[in-house]
């Protein structure tokens, strides 16, 4: 059994986010991190590796420096990694991205017992679309919003979260599962041994040449030009005007507030 874990390197949007005057993001000013939901996907895969000894392969599509992230994931316990990188793939929307990743996995081979794990959502693009779209392109079943994954033979039992509870879902491998963060999933750290060995483990780079003739690739729907969706405008929302800071002692501030609320008929 082999588990492919799809990971994306993202700018850390939890801290200060710098936006350029033209409304694009100033990525250079932000730290690059492993997408948080993908950390759950990695951990779920490594747990299955602990239990079954299966092979775990990290896959990313991104610019060449993303190799550093892949080495980190190997240092956490993954066996090998694949970097999909080509100028022609840049600017892809989710339809295009998933097509390219699906083609890469198809080329590497998806066996009867294999699985693909993704994060549910990346914190930059925020669409949560890439996972389900890879599954569709490969014609395999999907389960999204997973917090627990158990496997026996080809049957996989997944706990899928809903807004008001959860479902237990049984699915046949090969399948794709998107993972979310949960208190019960604690991503592990890199180990010392892992760090020492991570540069000696295999890392394959797939470029445009390697993928362009794959049956799942449609050359007219990849990259910035081919993507079905286009960004028409991007902009920053205006800050709502600063309101009134009430002055005086606590009691005076509160009385002033209540007075204003009464005048507005809020109370």
């Amino acid at each position: 059994m082999r588990i492919y874990v799809c990971v994306k390197q993202v700018p850390d949007t939890s801290g200060k986010v710098a936006v350029n005057p033209d409304g694009t993001l100033n990525r250079a000013s932000m730290a690059a991190i492993i997408n948080p939901d993908d950390m759950s996907a990695i951990e779920q895969a490594l747990k299955l590796k602990d239990a079954t000894g299966c092979q775990v392969t990290a896959v990313t599509m991104g610019p060449p420096p993303a190799e550093g992230m892949l080495r980190e994931i190997i240092a956490m316990g993954a066996d090998d990694a694949v970097l999909i990188s080509a100028r022609e793939f840049g600017g892809s929307d989710t339809f295009a991205t998933s097509q390219i990743i699906a083609a890469a996995i198809h080329k590497l081979g998806l066996g009867k017992e294999d699985m693909i794990f993704c994060g549910r959502q990346a914190i930059d693009g925020d669409t949560a679309q890439v996972g389900p779209q890879i599954a569709e392109k490969l014609n395999i079943p999907q389960v999204t919003y997973a917090t627990g994954i158990k496997k026996s033979e080809n049957l996989v039992l997944v706990k899928r979260m809903l807004e008001d509870g959860y479902m237990m879902i049984e699915v046949q491998a090969p399948c794709l599962i998107t993972c979310i963060k949960d208190k019960t999933i604690k991503p592990r750290y890199m180990t010392l041994n892992g760090i020492m060995e991570c540069y000696s483990k295999p890392l394959e780079v797939l470029n445009y040449e390697a993928l362009k003739d794959e049956p799942l690739i449609e050359l007219d729907t990849i990259g910035l030009k081919g993507s079905p969706t286009n960004i028409f405008k991007s902009f920053t929302p205006p800050q709502k005007g600063v309101g009134i800071m009430l002055q005086g002692t606590d009691k005076e501030k509160v009385d002033d507030l209540v007075d204003r609320l009464q005048k507005k008929h809020v109370i």
């Binding site: 929307d93 339809f95 679309q129 479902m167 204003r260």
Partner: protein, 367 residues
């Protein structure tokens, strides 16, 4: 097969995928039908809802009351519970035959599972988690004038354009993007729950809405997943989205968590029937259940009054509450960003200020 997503002129009408759980419609259905009506009027086309389930015909009429011209009902025992396989098959089959120009889906946990799967199958684009939609370009330009920092006077727009312009937050709400899908149809979007305004229900409109039952073909080979069971978390769900008054607490209650939540409850009561929400810090600490979370990864709310107690005002929190009609913030740090979006700000210790607020509000009610 004759379906070709690139033959864009053969597609017409605005469609809404209507979600049901336990045979009941969900709130996003009414929001999306209301929004869909607006778009259908802008485009001069029909508004059609599509409802999948088992024995759900009787609930379809209600959707007409919010503006649908027609509801297509797909009934099959395998559609009683949501599965990606069955729903994607049925929805895509009908879409390929009927060719809607626009397909809207609620961005719920189910919609965000179904939408991308179908878009990939239909070979078209999908815009995620939209918060604003326009067809009419003039309306879109008006929207930009009030909701962006762009200098629209220096820009030119294709005024005849009839592509759906789908606006959504990205990068954790730091950036808004308007996305179009010009070369393929249907033009698909998932729409964030709680954002679109539900219109008034009209019994007359419900009566004239056409209900069409549609034959569904599903075989065992189509179904590769099986729902073993569904577990409802046995907890009282808070209805943050429907609430008029929300009092939310943040990490600022940490020195007395229980006391802080009690104060918030009392203040919510004093305002009249309010509910208590929380920042993600509070939910992550386990102080309130997750359905109380307000913000980008929680709920988007627009109550009449939103009170933020001990919440710093991170952009992800603001994304869920800044469109409230009136915002009051209490924070001991006068530089807290929450004050940037508050109508009234009080710097102070919430444990001292809130009891005074409760008392003062009660006094006005007794006077």
């Amino acid at each position: 097969m004759s379906f070709n997503s690139a033959d864009i002129n053969s597609f017409r009408d605005i469609w809404v995928f209507c979600e049901q759980r336990d045979g009941k419609l969900v709130n996003t259905d009414f929001e999306l039908i209301s929004e869909g009506r607006k778009l259908a009027d802008e485009r001069g086309s029909k508004l059609v809802g599509i409802l999948l389930g088992h024995e759900v015909k009787d609930i379809a009429k209600e959707l007409g009351g919010y503006g649908a011209d027609k509801i297509i009902v797909c009934d099959h025992p395998e559609l009683r519970l949501y599965t990606t396989d069955a729903y994607a098959k049925v929805l895509c089959d009908v879409v390929m035959e009927e060719k809607p120009e626009v397909l809207l889906i609620g961005a719920t946990n189910i919609g965000r599972d179904l939408g991308p799967r179908c878009a990939a199958r239909l070979r078209t684009g999908l815009t995620a988690d939209c918060t604003h939609l326009d067809i009419d370009t003039k309306k879109y330009v008006d929207f930009l004038a009030t909701s962006s920092t762009l200098d629209i006077s220096s820009m030119s727009f294709p005024m005849e354009d009839t592509n759906l312009k789908m606006t959504r937050p990205a990068f954790g709400g730091h950036l808004m993007a308007t996305i179009i899908c010009p070369r393929f149809r249907p033009c698909m979007s998932t729409v964030r729950p709680g954002v679109m305004k539900k219109s008034e229900f009209s019994q007359e409109k419900a009566e004239v809405c056409q209900i069409v039952m549609r034959h569904v073909e599903l075989s065992a080979a189509d179904l590769k997943t099986k729902v073993v069971n569904v577990v409802k978390e046995a907890k009282k769900m808070v209805d943050l989205i429907g609430a008029d008054i929300i009092v939310s607490v943040g990490r600022g209650i940490s020195k007395d968590v229980e006391g802080g939540i009690k104060l918030a409850e009392k203040l919510a009561d004093a305002f009249g029937n309010g509910v208590v929400g929380g920042s993600r810090a509070v939910i992550d600490s386990g102080w309130l259940p997750s359905d109380h979370q307000v913000g980008q990864t929680g709920k988007t709310v627009h109550p009449k009054v939103y009170v933020a107690l001990g919440i710093s005002g991170a952009i992800q929190h603001k994304a869920g509450m800044q469109d409230s009609e009136l915002i009051i913030a209490v924070n001991k740090d006068e530089t807290a960003p929450i004050f940037d979006c508050a109508d009234y700000g009080i710097t102070g210790d919430l444990f001292k200020v809130v009891p005074l607020m409760i008392e003062a509000i009660k006094e006005t009610q007794n006077a």
